[in-house]
Amino acid sequence: MNVVAKTETGRALGDAFAVVRDRLPGKGKIADQRREAFEAYERLGLPHRRIEDWKYTDLRALMREVLPLAPAPDAAALARAAAAIKLRAIDGVRRLVLVDGAFAPDLSDLGNLDKGLSIRPLRDVLDAGDNALSVQAIATDVSNPMLALNGAMATDGVVIDIANGTVLTQPLHIVHVASGTAPASMFTRSLLRLGRDAGVTLVESYLAGEGAKAYQTHDGLIVAIGDNARLDHVRLVEDSIDAFNISSATVSLGAHAHFNTFGLTSGGHVSRYQLTVTCAGEGSKVETNGVNLINGKQHADTTLFMDHAVPHCASREIFRAVVDDRAHSVFQGRIIVRPDAQKTDAKMMTRALLLSDDAEADNKPELEIFADDVTCGHGATTGALDESLLFYMRARGLPEKEAQALLIQAFVGEAIETIASDALREVAIATAQRWLKARA
């Protein structure tokens, strides 16, 4: 039942779009695309629990409204952002920083670009006029209201091109920082095109500058992985505890391409990550792994759509949720095997660990199979920490919290271990340990 009465806030946003429309980058075809996307969003409005995909994440109840666009960061905001980045700096990466929805060249490393690597702010690409690239960057699946809204409102982002055969050793790191002191929305969109036989590691992280309050991050990432190319992707959500993060990533793989992605969500009041992966080339391989570490009243939703469109592809999903206090973890994973996608090998495993009686974990692993010669499976478990293991450790003198921490580490370890890069695995482990420490 997608009957949607227009809400007060819906109207306010409509008016806001009318106001900012002319200031958004891109004219002509881009502007048309934005208008269509916004109309699609308006038809559905903020998704609510009567829409199947949003059953567990009712944005009308959780978010209530989409805040107005954040103003471009001033010097003070940039300084706060710089401080936040410094706290969570990752060594040896090429940093690309987006502050309050705008690319910040002064905080980014754009010097000495490797051969075959091109990085441009999205705003520049869109302002350069209509072309295939700008159309691709702003292209939107309008059936998903939040993705449509992102397409309509995106102000900036990074457009990364990696030429055929270029294998970068230095990871690229896109940092999203919210730095404005007034609650506002940021709409960013980035595009990564990986050529044939190319390879790169992409890190995305979401941070808050000091004083950033109740902001909303709406991010979109579009990735095209060429034949035989490999992308390693690590995503860390460490937004402030009252923030909203509604993000989507759309990834397509060419023949024999390899995509390894890991996401860790420990921040944000309400977060939703919608990942759509399409195996468009035969023999491609996907590993999707994620961990939610949440407590308090946090709500974290990972919605995965794994589309096996062609034969001979393999996908593996490992998802772990650790839920404490009154937090709510959601995992929806849908594997679809199209009629011709024979010899597909897909497996999904999702496990939730409930640490408190008020915690909630909802798992919805789905299989949609239209081909007969496939191996597909999924598993889902929900439970508490094993009492006998806890007792074993406590009998050997470990305090309860420490014993719990050890078991939790082991629980999420299986997912974290899938990160290919040693350095990034350490970063993820450190993030998990910070969460455990804060708990103790």
Binding site: D358, A359, A361, D362, I369, D372
Partner: protein, 498 residues
């Protein structure tokens, strides 16, 4: 893994074109005027000689239904149903008041004979040998309530059941004879406002079975209802209510068939089960409505609401279903595990072929403490059919110690069909332990290993495990069904897909 040739052959044999119950019985019938209005509801109520409270109840449901919209969330696709183009009541024309089974219209008796359903007690009591090659007559006693279109035509073994204190009669009679029981329980598990089809059923249900097993009684025989749609353009709306009082036990079987027709007929039933302290109900269904022809024309729309309420401590409800028929199946037999230590079970084999669409599964709602549930679902899709398992397992805040194990496996035969799994696992209690799995190889590795070690192939071993698992239930079914069901289940389970 693709299906082996033997499996393919077996499934072909049970293909939709092989439907054996497609004949039609020529019999005069008494029908309500076509269409649905308050008058239709009043007509049915008057036909059934119902008390005023029942009519009010129906009318309230009808008014509610007018405000509702048809659900669209299931993975089924069908043209819009014209609810004004259906007869809501059709009954074989009574010749006179019946005093014994011999006075039932011989055409109806013949129909049930053809279906292999014994309505004559004597034949069964004497244990008459079945003719060689003919349908087997079970040598155990089964009390049968035969529902023909909208009315119950015969209920066997009434006397013997009465001696045990068990009430087993058409619900229309129960409304008149045991209003206190009906009023106390009717609509308490599936309220009139529950869903579109259940509400429609509440307004226009014509007959069905009513069972009450008094405290401490173990029902002396199997109870069974056999539903037959015969009339053209009719919908069948039956309502079954089974109450197992404290410490009692009853096993109930349900079977259904319909003639082969080009039109689609609607079957919207409601089944309500209630178990009080320490009681158990075992409910088995072999659903074999006409599935439509090989082009997907005709067949029954089976939109059924089945729900059991484990109201008492230590109570148990077990659903077993073998689904082979219907053009469209929309059915989720559920258990509300309200009593502490109560348990629910759902064993299902859903086979779809031709253009059949199955969207079936269960709901296990854990409310009480230390409740447990078990879901075993096997879906087999062949031809151009779509077979979906949709299940919910949820533990509420106070359901400490809730335990669930779910295994749903699907087998695809041919590349034009689809098998889908949509489980919802919702835990709101940290002591809940839920497991959901969808790989055959994980069904007790030990047992498999044991079998393989003794010379069985992996596939035979899996078949053995699954067969052994459902065998107890199959044996409880009327022989005619059990043989059919056994045939369906013996289909090997290799090439599994979650």
């Amino acid at each position: 893994m693709p299906a082996v040739q033997e499996t393919v052959e077996r499934v072909r044999r049970i293909d939709v074109d092989q439907y054996r119950y497609g004949f039609e019985t020529q019999i005069e019938s008494d029908k309500a005027p076509k269409g649905l209005s308050e008058d239709t509801v009043r007509f049915i109520s008057a036909k059934k000689n119902e008390p005023a409270w029942m009519l009010e109840w129906r009318l309230e449901a009808y008014r509610r239904w007018l405000t509702m919209t048809e659900p669209t969330w299931a993975r089924v696709d069908y043209p819009k149903i014209d609810y004004q183009d259906i007869y809501y009541y059709a009954a074989p024309k009574p010749k006179k008041t019946l005093s014994s089974i011999d006075e039932i219209d011989p055409e109806i008796l013949k129909t049930y004979e053809k279906l292999g359903i014994p309505l004559r007690e004597v034949a069964i009591l004497e244990g008459v040998e079945p003719p060689p090659g003919g349908p087997q007559t079970p040598n155990r006693k089964i009390a049968v309530d035969a529902v023909f279109d909208s009315v119950s035509v015969a209920t066997t073994f009434q006397k013997e059941l009465k001696a045990a204190g068990v009430i087993f009669m058409p619900i229309s009679e129960a409304i008149r004879e045991h209003p206190e029981l009906v009023q106390k329980y009717l609509g308490t598990v599936v309220p009139t406002s529950d869903n579109y089809f259940a509400t429609l059923n509440s307004a226009v249900f014509s007959d069905g079975s009513f069972v009450y097993v008094p405290p401490g009684v173990r029902c002396p025989m199997e109870l069974s209802t056999y539903f037959r749609i015969n009339e053209r353009n009719t919908g069948q709306f039956e309502r079954t209510l089974i109450i197992a009082d404290k410490g009692s036990y009853v096993s109930y079987l349900e079977g259904c068939t319909a003639p082969q027709r080009d039109e689609n007929q609607l079957h919207a039933a409601v089944v309500e089960l209630v178990t009080l302290d320490d009681a158990e109900i075992k409910y088995s269904t072999v659903q074999n409505w006409y599935p439509g022809n090989s082009e997907g024309k005709g067949g029954i729309y089976n939109f059924v609401t089945k729900r059991g309420d484990c109201r008492g401590r230590n109570s148990k409800i077990s659903w077993t279903q073998v689904e082979t028929g219907s053009a469209i199946t929309w059915k989720y037999p559920s258990c509300i595990l309200r009593g502490d230590n109560s348990s629910g079970e759902f064993y299902s084999i859903a086979i779809s072929n031709g253009f059949q669409q199955v969207d079936s599964g269960t709901k296990m709602i854990h409310l009480g403490k230390n409740t447990s549930s078990r879901i075993i679902s096997k879906g087999i899709a062949a031809g151009k059919s779509q077979n979906t398992y949709r299940g919910l397992v949820s533990a509420h805040r106070k359901a400490t110690g809730a335990r669930n194990y779910t295994a749903c496996d699907s087998l695809l035969i041919g590349d034009k069909c689809g098998a889908h799994t949509v489980p919802y696992v919702e835990a709101k209690n940290s002591s809940a332990t839920f497991e959901h799995e969808a790989t055959t190889s994980k069904i007790s590795e030990d047992v498999l290993f044991y079998c393989i070690q003794r010379g069985l192939s992996q596939e035979e071993a899996v078949g053995l495990v699954v067969n052994g698992f459902v065998k107890d239930v199959l044996q409880q079914l009327p022989m005619e069904f059990a043989v059919e069901a056994q045939k369906l289940i013996s289909i090997s389970l290799e090439g599994s897909v979650g």
